[in-house]
């Protein structure tokens, strides 16, 4: 099946070439980081995780979001999703690979990363995160590949893929729950230490993932002969709407608990993010932008006239994707570290190099996504034509 990927139009190759260029530049910058250490980043003693882990957290969400097409199609036999299920699974594969790359980019001693396997430590949430992330990646690769292959050969997928599909559903929930547990189990980090964190992560994931999938459907429709179907997109947009409302609702619950109880250690972080603390407020405009984007997104999805408008919908999805990205990656990570446990305010701004390396990871993800989507759409075109 892979041979499909090496036959493409000029546009396809230009796009891949552009991605490869970004990857090459980013790799050169990464070599600097590999040789000289994480000093090239904006991270500090007080803000010890930054852009890499932020993007990692967000992309785990995008990966988990794929389950929003898997559940309706496989558990409820929702036929409209038949065409896009494979797109959701392949999106999860690309996102997970980016997640793993972001983790490796963040390590101080990447050459020792297999120590996590050599000295397995069940009390560390990072160990479990590694297990579920790799498990979910493996499941999606196997399922996506086998199902697509079966479609190409016009036979039923092998029976053993069924149990794997069912297992992949709790795994999807699991990857984001465990990722939330990385943060919410830490004493002394008031911003993260809330039981709503995992549900909130999932809600924002089920908004961001499907919103991105809608955008991808538009792109696929534009550049290939394969049509994912307007009805599937409409159903997806309803899912995004509910999930986004849940995300904002969970956040407001958190705001109530924190500001009604007035416990300083919990309040100061949200204060920093939305109003600034002791004159430091680098993230204030970002956080309000995020809120405005998410509320606008809800408005545009709740009203059927806007939601059903084929021209407005992609823009709505872009708003939501950016809004949830700011909320979950920029705000969630910096917000937890500022102020520090000793109540110092050290602000975090990613450096140019850090952003470039991140772009390299994103380009790698997009490259994988492009190739996988090319396989999927070509097979679907073949079968229909």
């Amino acid at each position: 099946m892979l041979e499909i990927a090496i036959k493409g139009s000029k546009k396809y190759w230009i796009w891949l070439g552009a991605l490869l260029t970004v990857m090459a530049v980013a790799f050169a910058v990464y070599i600097d980081q590999f040789v000289n250490g994480l000093m090239i980043t904006g991270m500090s003693r007080d803000v010890s995780w930054g852009f890499y882990i932020a993007n990692f957290t967000f992309l785990v969400g995008v990966a988990a979001g794929g389950v929003m097409v898997v559940i309706p199609y496989y558990l409820h036999d929702y036929e409209k999703f038949h065409r896009i299920t494979i797109l959701g699974e392949f999106l999860a594969v690309a996102s997970l690979i980016m997640c793993l790359m972001f983790i490796v980019a963040d390590l101080g001693q990447p050459t020792r990363m297999l120590n996590v396997l050599l000295y397995p430590t069940p009390n560390s949430m990072l160990f479990w995160d590694m297990c579920v992330l790799n498990g979910y990646l493996f499941l999606n690769i196997v399922i996506g590949w086998k199902v697509l292959e079966a479609e190409r050969n016009q036979v039923r997928p092998p029976d053993w893929t069924k149990p794997l599909i069912y297992i992949s559903i709790p795994f999807a929930i699991g990857i984001h729950t465990v990722t939330a547990y990385l943060y919410c189990g830490l004493p002394g980090r008031g911003f993260w230490m809330t039981a709503i964190l995992a549900p909130r992560f999932l809600a924002s994931a089920f908004a961001a993932g499907p919103a991105f999938l809608i955008l991808l459907c538009y792109i696929v429709k534009r550049f290939t002969k394969f049509d994912p179907g307007w009805e599937a997109i409409q159903t997806l947009s309803k899912i995004v709407c509910y999930a986004l409302i849940a995300n904002v609702f969970f956040f407001l619950c958190e705001v109530f608990v924190v500001f009604y109880s007035k416990i300083p250690g919990h309040m100061s972080h949200i204060q920093y993010l939305f109003f600034g603390l002791y004159g430091h407020g680098a993230l204030v405009p970002w956080m309000w932008t995020s809120m405005i984007l998410m509320f606008t997104g809800i408005g545009l999805l709740i009203v059927p006239k806007f939601r059903n408008n084929e021209t407005i919908l992609p823009f709505t999805c872009i708003l939501i994707f950016i809004g949830t990205w700011i909320d979950k990656s920029l705000g969630m990570i910096s917000g937890g570290f500022v102020p520090s446990p000793l109540h110092h305010v050290t602000e975090y701004v990613p450096t140019f190099q850090e952003v470039l390396i991140s772009l390299g990871v994103l380009a790698t993800g997009l490259l994988i996504l492009t190739v996988l989507f090319k396989l999927a759409t070509t097979v679907k075109e073949e079968v229909r034509g």
Partner: protein
């Protein structure tokens, strides 16, 4: 064709298993013989030992000079880099300037407000407002950093010292997020150029690993007091918290002492006598 490929893979699988199992079999076979001449690894006779090491800082007698000396002594004994030190241009040409907020520290001075942020008080006694409070790793009984570490590079020793195995650390910095006391530092770069004078009795660190106070475990093993205690003019006492007869217990029995963020239940082993 398919059959022969399949059987080849099978055979290959079995051989890989066999090769993999060989060391284990060898080890089992070896363990049965020659027990008499086996080498042994033990403590040094002069080593200090305790059931649970703890520290008491006498804030009543602490002042800026002593605190400064303590911080300096710790840096020197443990090769903790100092980013204000100007690196030797000949030995390390073309170094990029260090970033102040990526600095490393094992023990350092804080004001009351930062050392005990949740105990802030509008009407705090004046003497506490200007007093330097030395903060460091608390060697918690229930250490969140130990729980978080995915490789057991940070671990709790039987005697209560929370240790770092620099060889094993992958630099994920999960422990830094987990520590409620900000006690941990990460080597964002190679620290050696910023060590004014390398102490040969303790290794330096490489870039990419986390470090923190280890209660001078290497000195305790040689029967020496930690460097901070030595420089403290009696304001810091390190001893066995589980031994009712120890000096530290006597101090805690007679004086009012507090610990940082007690409400988190990590059970810090560093006490502040007020």
């Amino acid at each position: 064709m398919i059959h022969s490929r399949r059987s080849f893979i099978k055979a290959a699988g079995v051989s890989v298993l066999a090769i993999g199992a060989a060391p284990a079999i060898k080890a089992v076979a070896a363990s049965g013989s020659g027990a008499a001449s086996l080498p042994s690894k033990t403590r040094r006779p002069e080593a200090f030992s305790a059931k649970r090491w703890g520290m008491a800082i006498d804030c009543r007698r602490m002042n800026g000079d002593i605190a400064g000396n303590i911080v300096k002594a710790c840096r020197k004994a443990n090769n903790v880099p100092d980013f204000s030190h100007k690196p030797d241009e000949d030995k390390y040409p073309g170094l990029r300037p260090p970033k102040k907020d990526q600095e490393l520290k094992w023990i350092w001075e804080e004001s009351y407000h930062h050392a005990f942020p949740e105990m802030e008080d509008e009407f705090l006694a004046d003497k506490f407002k200007s007093m330097p409070f030395l903060v460091t790793c608390n060697h918690c009984k229930n250490a969140p950093c130990v729980q978080a570490c995915p490789t057991r590079a940070t671990f709790k020793r039987e005697d209560g010292v929370v240790m770092m195995d620099f060889h094993r650390c992958i630099g994920c910095r999960f422990c830094m997020a987990a520590c409620p006391f900000g006690a941990r530092s990460f080597n964002f770069r190679d620290p050696k150029p910023f060590i004014p004078e390398i102490n040969p009795d303790f290794p330096t660190r490489s870039k990419g690993v986390v470090e923190k106070c280890n209660l001078c475990a290497g000195r305790l093993a040689k029967g020496l007091q930690p460097a901070c205690v030595e420089a403290s003019e009696g304001t810091i006492v390190v001893g066995d918290l589980e031994d009712p007869g120890s000096e530290i217990r006597a101090l805690l029995k007679e004086n009012y002492a507090i610990r940082r963020k007690q409400e988190l239940g990590t059970e810090p082993s560093v006490y502040y006598i007020m």
